[in-house]
């Protein structure tokens, strides 16, 4: 009878209900930890935005929302996000088609190169473009003015359009990667039947191919929209000097200006409500769009998709793609590495002016070394803790399925949709004494923020892996005489270990270059790598900031190669 009842269920469901054991402990722990780590900071923001000294009051909200600076920041946020989304989508779809479906040379290598911006920290890119195209002191601007005797700088990156340009060069891979894989897995007979029906190649692209990958395009585009709305790095580096603010940078400015006072943080909390509302609207649209869409375009056996001969346009388009790569990948990278070598910012970038002194300085200055150490400690511990926590929550949600498991799931992915700036404010409000625990100015507060921020990453990878572990595998272990704990230890965990490892790196890598939350949470001795680069630049020490930036880039590349090597030798699910 029992067997009939639990036909498709996991043994874990029965175990969890039968006795107090490992499963109930994990369930309880998951709820408690998520309440503390995720729900507390978020509720604190809502509380402080609407309550003042225990009294409900809309004064703060009304005051903040009606200020001109808020309104203009909101419009900038929306304007930039929409422009980045539109142009990022166009660029992403164009190159996805070119590399997925045409006979352009060097496809494999270019596909890899086009995903580089994805792992490159955007604020470093913004820094590089600022060095090159700053309206007053950019290298290229000054060279052009000198060479052609211009009276004013021909380019200015410190504008809304400049911000759009830099953000889009880092966000278009969202669309690119989604669409290129949709194009490659698409059943080629869908297009062939249109040819047989009498349509020319161009007509097929417009009437069949593009409409069929539209779901992939829109999901990538919405990812760009949401990321850009919450984005802090690029507008903060390019916009501050010209008074161009977006909501995340305005929140940062309000708090920085108040010197971290409680009043400043309250104002930040009120603005956060507005930012969350804007992002929530975008998320709502995302849910609607994603629910409506999705065609089954992958059918039958895998066949190679139709490759279109570009004929005469092959070489010009190849050159265009190369140029794009040079502009979005090589130029910023080159700028960072060159300026890192120059004796003083502003000196021409020629070997005579080169020195290694900047590296010497950053490695001897205690603050910089400490920031690298801090980032290492934070990323490693956030990676390990979050990976374990995420796997536990995933196990509870997928296998134990207690009452309220959907609440658990929502709690774990909630921080993903909360902008980093907002999360930081919540963490400050929750963990700087008001609840009896003061972590402010310690690494702990940054760690707690990282865990909340990246929890959804490990939760998602581990969930996907656990879903692949068929219940019969654990059942087989149980019939062999293993206890629930033993089968968990010897069967389930080893099977999902590769997913846990990649979950770790999914957290470790972005944590290494994190700047959005740490810039609000750091204290005198708890600067992170990102924060240190940011403040060196803020202090006008461009060459040192670049030197440290180049160190960060090398670190990221090394870790990424390790990840790729690991992924290639990976076994299990």
């Amino acid at each position: 009878m029992i067997n009939l009842r639990r036909k498709t269920r996991d043994l874990a469901v029965l175990d969890g209900r039968r006795r107090v054991g490992l499963d109930s402990i994990m369930t309880a722990l998951s709820f408690v930890l998520l309440l503390v780590i995720v729900v507390t900071p978020i509720s604190m923001i809502v509380y402080h935005a609407f309550f003042h000294q225990g009294q409900f009051s809309l004064d703060l909200i009304i005051d903040q929302f009606t200020r001109d600076t808020t309104v203009s920041a909101m419009w900038n946020t929306i304007k930039i996000a929409i422009l980045v989304t539109i142009f990022g989508t166009i660029v992403g779809v164009f190159y996805a088609w070119l590399l997925g479906r045409s006979n352009i040379p060097g496809k494999k290598l270019m596909r890899f190169l086009f995903t580089i911006p994805y792992m490159f920290p955007p604020f470093l890119g913004a820094m590089a473009w600022d060095l090159l195209l700053n309206g007053r002191s950019g290298y290229l601007n000054r060279w052009l003015m000198k060479t052609f005797g211009l009276s004013s700088a021909p380019f200015n990156i410190n504008t809304v359009w400049g911000i759009v340009f830099v953000e889009l060069s880092y966000y278009f891979p969202f669309v690119f990667m989604q669409v290129v894989s949709a194009l490659e897995r698409m059943d080629p007979t869908l297009e062939e039947s249109a040819r047989i029906a009498g349509a020319k190649q161009g007509t097929v692209i417009w009437k069949i191919t593009l409409p069929l990958v539209r779901p992939a395009i829109s999901s990538g585009a919405l990812l760009i929209l949401i990321s850009s709305l919450a984005h802090f790095g690029v507008p903060s580096i390019l916009g501050f000097s010209q008074g161009i603010f977006t909501l995340p940078t305005r929140i940062y400015a309000v708090i920085a200006r108040s010197g971290g006072s409680f009043e400043g943080i309250r104002q930040g909390a009120a603005l956060s409500i507005l930012l969350v509302a804007v992002v929530a609207l975008a998320l709502w649209i995302q849910q609607r769009v994603l629910r409506s869409g999705g065609y089954d375009i992958i059918k039958g056996k895998s066949m190679r998709p139709t490759v279109i001969n570009l004929r005469g346009a092959r070489i010009p388009l190849f050159i265009l793609a190369l140029t794009t790569l040079v502009v979005i990948v090589l130029v910023p990278l080159g700028m960072i590495f060159l300026v890192a070598l120059v004796r003083a910012y502003g000196l021409p970038l020629i070997p005579a002016n080169f020195t290694l002194a900047n590296y010497q300085r950053i490695f001897t200055a205690s603050g910089t070394l400490e920031s690298i150490k801090n980032s290492m400690i934070l990323s490693l511990s956030a990676g390990v803790i979050t990976m374990l926590l995420g796997t536990m929550v995933a196990y509870v949600v997928q296998k134990i399925r207690p009452r309220g498991s959907s609440v658990l799931e929502i709690m774990s992915v909630l921080p993903y949709s909360i902008p980093g700036t907002v999360l930081a404010i919540g963490v400050i409000l929750a963990w700087s004494g008001s609840l009896g625990l003061n972590l402010y100015n310690t690494l702990w507060i940054i760690l707690v923020a990282y865990i909340a921020r990246y929890l959804s990453f490990s939760m998602k990878t581990s969930s996907a892996a656990l879903l692949q572990v068929h219940p019969s595998l654990e059942e087989a272990a149980r019939t062999c005489g293993a206890s629930h704990t033993e089968s968990l230890r010897d069967i389930t965990l080893p099977l999902i270990r590769p997913a846990m490892v990649s979950g770790f790196f999914l957290i470790f890598l972005p944590a290494m270059r994190e700047v959005t939350t740490s810039v609000l949470l750091y204290g005198p001795y708890t600067r992170t790598l990102g924060v240190q680069i940011y403040s060196l630049r803020d202090a006008g020490m461009m060459p040192q900031a670049s030197a440290l930036g180049s160190v960060a880039i090398v670190l990221i590349i090394v870790v990424n190669s390790i990840v790729n090597a690991l992924n290639q030798t990976r076994k299990g699910v």
């Binding site: 062939e192 040819r195 009498g198 020319k200 375009i297």
Partner: protein, 369 residues
């Protein structure tokens, strides 16, 4: 004689692969398909049948030879001519249906007409007609994903017939359907062909399907044409051992021919009692169908029933002949028991030379493509 609708003259297609070197996917194919005929191309995977169809459709160019549609050259290596698929005026139905999920049934079927700039009233009229022919009337505004596999394949069929093409190319159109539906669709397809009079070129690896639907069939193996004939002749008079085994259950017996008598290998005492072929070699393969062997008569090779297997629609016996065993199928009413003695007589068998084993290796290599 009816008019030639499709003609291939010495068509060859070579692919160059990185791992396996040059592969001749289609090697010197020549055949003619007549107006109103249903012509099947049959063979195991890797035999070149799909490549052949794709060359007729214009999705692949050929390496050598010429293809003619209604007397007009569409591909020719000599004239360096290649007409793109959209200008060949064909209908085609694919294995995975390939109906466009972002268009309604009506839009799917209207697409070929809209591309041809047919006026709106005419589009309405012809789509309606095509949908009636394929029993889809009333489903105009439905999206394909809401329909069953059989209905989706009917949309593909309606879309293919709506422009009234003279030639219809079918690339395993029934193999994604369940067996019952497959039979119904097969019947409907023939019915439609009778009504509209188009020519069918039908590619499949399923011999019973090909036999049921075809007027003539081409059997190919490893890029070469083996035999072109009617289903009856192919089944009864296969030209070689491959065609024999591909078209149905086969019994092959190694025999030795000595002094005008045929002996099963391993027993040179008792002749089989069949007349050897006129051009007999000392060693040959005797081929027949398990249901064409008689075991109830008084003449033939004296043996006994070794194994008896009772199946739903027939009984099978394994009977030793020299060092080999033959499988015999009989209706249930012929009931032997295990160990019973019987006389085995071959009726009108086929004779093939002893085959070399390299052919098997080549087949395995081609499967990898």
């Amino acid at each position: 004689m009816a008019q030639v609708q499709v003609e291939l003259r010495h068509v060859t297609k070579k692919f160059t692969t990185k791992t396996l070197g040059d592969i001749v996917a289609v090697d010197d194919f020549s055949f003619q398909v007549y107006e109103g005929e249903c012509f099947s191309i049959l063979g195991p995977s890797g035999c070149g049948k799909t490549t052949c169809l794709r060359m007729i459709a214009g999705f692949e160019d050929l390496t050598e030879g010429e293809i003619y549609l209604s007397g007009r050259p569409v591909s020719s290596s000599k004239a360096n001519l290649y007409v793109p698929p959209e200008e060949r005026d064909l209908g085609m139905v694919f294995q995975a249906f390939a109906v466009w999920p972002h268009m309604t049934v009506f839009e799917n079927v209207a697409f070929p007409l809209r591309i041809r700039k047919v006026n709106r009233a005419e589009v309405e009229r012809r789509v309606k007609q095509a949908l009636q022919h394929t029993s889809l009337a009333g489903l105009e505004d439905v999206y394909p994903s809401d329909l069953s596999g059989g209905q989706q394949q009917r949309i593909a069929l309606a879309r293919a017939i709506v422009t009234k093409p003279k030639v219809m190319l079918l690339d395993e159109p029934l193999s994604n359907l369940d067996p019952h539906l497959r039979e119904t669709m097969r019947f409907e397809l023939k019915e439609l062909q009778r009504k509209l009079g188009f020519t069918i070129i039908f590619v499949t690896h399923d011999q019973s399907e090909a036999m049921a639907i075809s007027d003539r069939m081409l059997v190919a193996d490893m890029g070469k044409i083996m035999q072109i004939d009617t289903p009856e002749n192919l089944y009864n008079r296969p030209i070689n051992r491959f065609v024999h085994s591909f078209l149905g259950e086969s019994t092959f017996l190694k025999v030795v021919i000595k002094d005008g008598q045929v002996y099963a290998e391993g027993d040179l005492e008792q002749p089989l009692g069949v007349a050897p072929p006129p051009d007999a070699e000392p060693e040959m393969i005797l081929a027949t169908r398990p249901n064409a062997i008689e075991i109830t008569g008084d003449t033939g090779y004296q043996s006994r029933i070794e194994t008896r297997i009772f199946l739903t629609d027939r009984t099978e016996y394994l009977i030793p002949l020299g060092s080999q065993k033959v499988k015999v199928q009989t209706p249930h009413r012929i009931a032997f028991s295990q160990g019973d003695s019987c006389r085995v007589r071959f009726v009108d068998p086929m004779w093939y030379p002893v085959e070399d084993s390299d052919a098997e290796k080549e087949r395995a290599r081609r499967q990898l493509i």
